[in-house]
């Protein structure tokens, strides 16, 4: 299911662009990964005695798998609201550079910030990866509508998965739960590796993987931020040095 060429008349309608975005949900294996991850989140919420409405609300409002897992496990283990909020905020820092790097690719000269509000909310790892892959195939003035379609499609899939997991919870074996948790690192690693276009991307990925275990021994509470900014900056330095040479 390829997208129509950039000059196709199909792209003249924002609604068609939205539909094409929604249809693109079926073209990526990450949809399956998200489905399984949200089955796991639904089951986790059930076991931690949250209501179905609560966990569906968290999927719509939070829309970031790791943050939802952290929120449910910290609150479920009796942490205070402040402790849970801090843990979620630290895990969500990665969303900031993702939003900064994706939004400029959607903007036209007439775009106001408020037009990008919903697209910014939809940005999480999956949408970040898919936007870098798909947006170059979409005419610039239809990219926001396309992203809205893609985001709504993925959200619908995840709401169904959350409900399924919530219903199945009691019947999920430990091996299945371990396999679901393993999906996140595998899919994040491979989809990021496929998206590497420049030497700085490859270096950032490799250095980020290598530095985290070292920084984690310091137990600063913001280990991921420290290792991420250092590794990313070194990677950018290598790019700058090569470009200059």
């Amino acid at each position: 299911m390829a997208l129509p060429p950039l000059d196709s008349v199909t792209w003249q309608s924002p609604l068609r662009a939205f539909a094409l975005g929604m249809r693109s949900v079926a073209t990526t294996v990450l949809t399956l990964v998200l489905f399984a991850t949200y089955v796991g989140i639904g089951a986790l919420a059930h076991d931690s005695h949250f209501s179905l409405g609560w966990v569906l609300g968290s999927t719509v409002l939070v829309w970031a798998g790791p943050a939802q897992i952290i929120l449910i496990t910290t609150l479920g283990s009796g942490a205070t609201v402040v402790q849970a909020a801090i843990a979620v905020a630290v895990s969500a820092i990665r969303l900031f550079p993702m939003v900064v790097s994706v939004l400029p690719t959607m903007r036209t000269s007439g775009t106001k910030r408020r037009h990008l509000l919903l697209a910014a909310h939809f940005i999480a790892v999956t949408l970040w990866v898919e936007c870098h892959r798909l947006l170059p195939l979409v005419p610039r003035e239809r990219r926001i509508a396309f992203t809205h379609g893609l985001g709504c499609g993925l959200l619908l899939v995840c709401l169904v998965a959350t409900t399924v997991g919530y219903g199945l919870a009691a019947n999920l074996p430990v091996l299945f739960a371990a396999a679901i948790l393993m999906l996140t690192p595998l899919a994040f690693l491979l989809s990021t590796a496929r998206n590497c276009r420049q030497i700085s991307d490859v270096l950032a990925l490799v250095l980020g993987l290598a530095l985290y275990p070292l920084v984690a021994t310091l137990q600063t509470g913001v280990d991921i931020l420290i290792s991420g900014v250092s590794a990313g900056t070194i990677a950018y330095g290598a790019h700058w040095w090569r470009a200059r040479a």
Binding site: V29, L44, F50, S51, W54, L61, W63, A67, L71, T73, L75, A84, A85, A92, I93, R94, L95, F96, P97, V99, V100, S101, L103, P104, R113, A120, I123, W128, L175, A178, L181, M182, T184, P185, L186, L189, L190, S191, A193, R194, S200, D201, L203, A204, L205, L207, G208, L211, Y212, A216, D223, I224, S227, G228, A231, G232, A235, Y236, H239, W240
Partner: protein, 118 residues
């Protein structure tokens, strides 16, 4: 009907906690990104740096799950987690970067190893 709805939504206090501890601390980063990213030029050098940092932070999240595994994943020995990722990555490279083949192989390695260990 109202019983069903009350049951579906659960404790109103828990919904407030969802907004305060889940939605707001998460969304603030997206809104900061929107506020700042709204003005960055697509071809700028700063954006290459930002993308490198985003990639490296994501690499950190991946490493964290593997090194300090949550929940049921902690029941899998270290060597098996690392081995499963290595197997998945090897197949990914051999299949000309097929994410599907890589993810499936990694999962098969994990489940087979765990099953074999008993």
């Amino acid at each position: 009907m109202s019983d069903w709805l009350a049951n579906f939504l659960g404790d109103p206090h828990a919904l407030l906690v969802l907004v305060v501890a889940g939605f707001l601390p998460n969304e603030v980063w997206r809104m900061l990104g929107l506020w700042l990213g709204g003005g960055v030029d697509e071809g700028s050098e700063a954006l290459i740096w930002v993308r490198a940092v985003a990639t490296a932070i994501l690499a950190g999240v991946i490493a964290q799950i593997l090194v300090q595994p949550p929940g049921a994943l902690a029941s899998v020995p270290d060597w098996l987690r690392y081995g499963a990722v290595a197997a998945g990555f090897a197949v990914f490279m051999l299949t000309r970067r097929s994410i599907f083949a890589g993810v499936v192989s990694g999962e098969v390695a994990l489940v087979a190893g765990k099953w074999w260990l008993g």
